[in-house]
Symmetry: none
Subunit: 387 residues, 2 copies
């Protein structure tokens, strides 16, 4: 038996004030009527999870496995990391006398960013260390430093807003002095390389150290693949050795190529026990405070993804990584709906997909790795504890 | 106040597809109507518990206290174990040139097994070590090795299926070499002792090391007795120093002598705070995929046990160790119904005994030692934490 595990990013809302109370999602409600309902708190009750942490917990890991955002983004962009690598998220910026005039360098075009990437990688050189830079979308990118004795305990060079000076990288402890010095040399070299460009500096933030973690397959005895557009989600998956292919036109927003994602999910079925499918758009609209947008994104998912999944998988789990209520424009600790559907799962009497209805469901409230453990049993892959 | 804690083995089912939805258990429904309902996950959400582990958790212990199946079976058969003893489950088998022709030696009769037991115990001799063999039912039995420096980290001699060679016992680490060597000497001697018999070998599996664990009374401040037929359940009870008498005609199946078990439970009341009553038959039928059998077993329990318990105990708890849905023919992670009944417990508005109804009960979802802690308070035996 195979399972599809659908993660709708930012799915949850303020109960009783939820867009889900106002809409009828035809296919999702079919799952609700023929399956079991509940609530899922990915990281635990009362916690406001970041997207990276939320996914790490969904996969059954916890905070001690977290390596920071930098390495996850780097993995998501296809960089093969090694244990001890230090990775940053980067912004191309426009500076003048070290004052940041525009932290996003006018949101430069991807083609231009790729030209700058090439220049940097050709010219940048730190003796004894390997430095890898990769541009991603617009001004965004990642930078990785590889070599002996590096530390993640350093400050950002990104001041976080326009009008402030680009910061000198400082060590947070004695053991990080060398790394901070290397980062400052890298910043200086890049400024020289980019002199005269309209993106003439690279700001670094969120240093993280790549760790070796037990693979998802070792941990759970389950083969899994991640279908996602956004690089962060592919990165978290790859971090725990879940395969995450790059999918044509999967963008991580409402214009994502759902046809290709659905096809990829169905293709992934044969070789895997669990196919995770990440759908980003509702979170984006939550952050924008756009209730109608969130509704439209959910309706699109219901129409273009759910039916195809129902036709192809025996066990279906649908939930979110966290809530992003449109009223709050941010992640929150509010309840996230959970549906599980399949012969081995059973059914209850909940009929409508919303926070308040789900709270009456037969799955109750699940947290952290409890959900993936249930999934394992629903697809007949659990091993008895004891005998 | 005294409590009866009824454990119906394999009680749980797939919610919404449960035999419990189809039947009216008169006495159990009396408990439901006048008590409080909930769900109990003995080992935790998403876990598929073995019977031994499930009972250990019901008693308020956890995985770190687990010693493996061998010692528990040995205790259940009345062998007094000492710390460091290594115990195995055994099968009489028929072999030829070390190839196992029949792992159960034609399910030999108990009387014949007892003859072989006598022969083995008379002749088997390993210098410096005590070896105790005990036959139980048909081909089954246990073997205990007692002496210094033994290890449980050894492999089985039982190949697990017919047609394969009886295995040499191998050490899993350096410290287990001597034990493996002793086991191989035992296997060889037994083959010589049984030469010419139609059960001419003894296969060993599931080595475990007996540990000293805190007694149930020390742990909870409660005196308890276990009323059970199956040796494993008596063994788990004895492992935590809960008395478990051998009850005439209590067999661990539907033909068990429920009259004697009920009498034993009522007799146990005076000297104890909690009387555990284990009822095995529904689990057997679950494993067989026999829905009607499971229903019949529950109806028999309802008629022959529950009424008598209601007439004699002030507080009654009824739940299961795990689910054994007839559709799956195996243990599963599905919800297990829970009822608690008594003046001090209270009542709610749940009226029918099934997974979906229980999920709406006022006890909510309880896990692990939460249940025994509530029981302790319901019989007025809890001590305040703090002041």
């Amino acid at each position: 038996m195979k399972s599809a595990f659908i993660i709708i990013d930012g799915l949850g809302n303020i109960p009783g004030k939820s867009p889900l109370d106002e809409i009828e999602l035809k296919n999702i409600n079919e799952l609700v009527k023929n399956g079991r309902a509940g609530i899922y708190y990915s990281v635990g009750k009362g916690i406001v999870p970041g997207s990276d942490i939320a996914h790490l917990y969904i996969f059954g890991y916890n905070f001690e496995h977290y390596c920071g955002r930098g390495p996850l983004e780097a993995l998501g962009l296809g960089i093969k990391l090694q244990k001890g690598d230090i990775a940053f998220r980067t912004n191309f910026a426009l500076i003048e006398d070290d004052v940041v005039l525009d932290r996003r360098a006018g949101r430069i075009k991807n083609e231009y960013a790729k030209e700058l990437e090439k220049k940097i990688n050709e010219k940048l050189s730190i003796k004894g260390y390997e430095v890898i830079f990769k541009a991603s979308n617009e001004h965004r990118g990642v930078l990785v430093i590889r070599g002996r004795g590096l530390s993640k305990d350093i400050t950002d060079t990104d001041p976080g807003k326009d009008g402030l000076k680009m910061q000198k990288c400082l060590p947070k402890n004695e053991g990080a002095k060398k790394t901070a010095e290397i980062v400052n040399r890298i910043s200086k070299q890049i400024k020289e390389i980019l002199k005269g460009e309209k993106a003439n500096a690279l700001l670094l933030r969120g240093a993280g150290e790549h760790k070796d973690v037990e693979s998802f397959e070792e941990k759970h005895g389950l083969k899994a693949e991640m279908i996602a557009g956004g690089s962060l989600y592919k990165g978290v998956a790859r971090y725990v050795s879940i395969e995450a292919k790059d999918i044509k036109g999967a963008t991580g927003d409402i214009n994502s190529n759902y046809k290709e994602k659905l096809k990829a999910a169905i293709n992934a079925k044969e070789k895997n026990d669990v196919v995770f499918i990440h759908l980003k758009a509702p979170d984006n609209y939550g952050h924008d405070g756009n209730k109608e947008g969130k509704i439209k994104a959910l309706e699109k998912i219901d129409k273009e993804i759910i039916k195809g999944i129902m036709d192809n998988f025996e066990v279906i789990v649908l939930t979110g990584d966290h809530a992003t209520p449109w009223q709050l424009k941010r992640h929150s600790s509010h309840p996230v709906p959970l549906i599980a559907y399949g012969e081995t799962v059973g059914k209850d009497d909940v009929k409508h997909f919303s926070e308040l209805h789900m709270l009456k469901g037969s799955l109750g409230i699940l947290e952290r790795d409890e959900l993936i453990k249930f999934v394992k049993d629903w697809i007949n892959k659990s091993k008895k504890l004891g005998s």
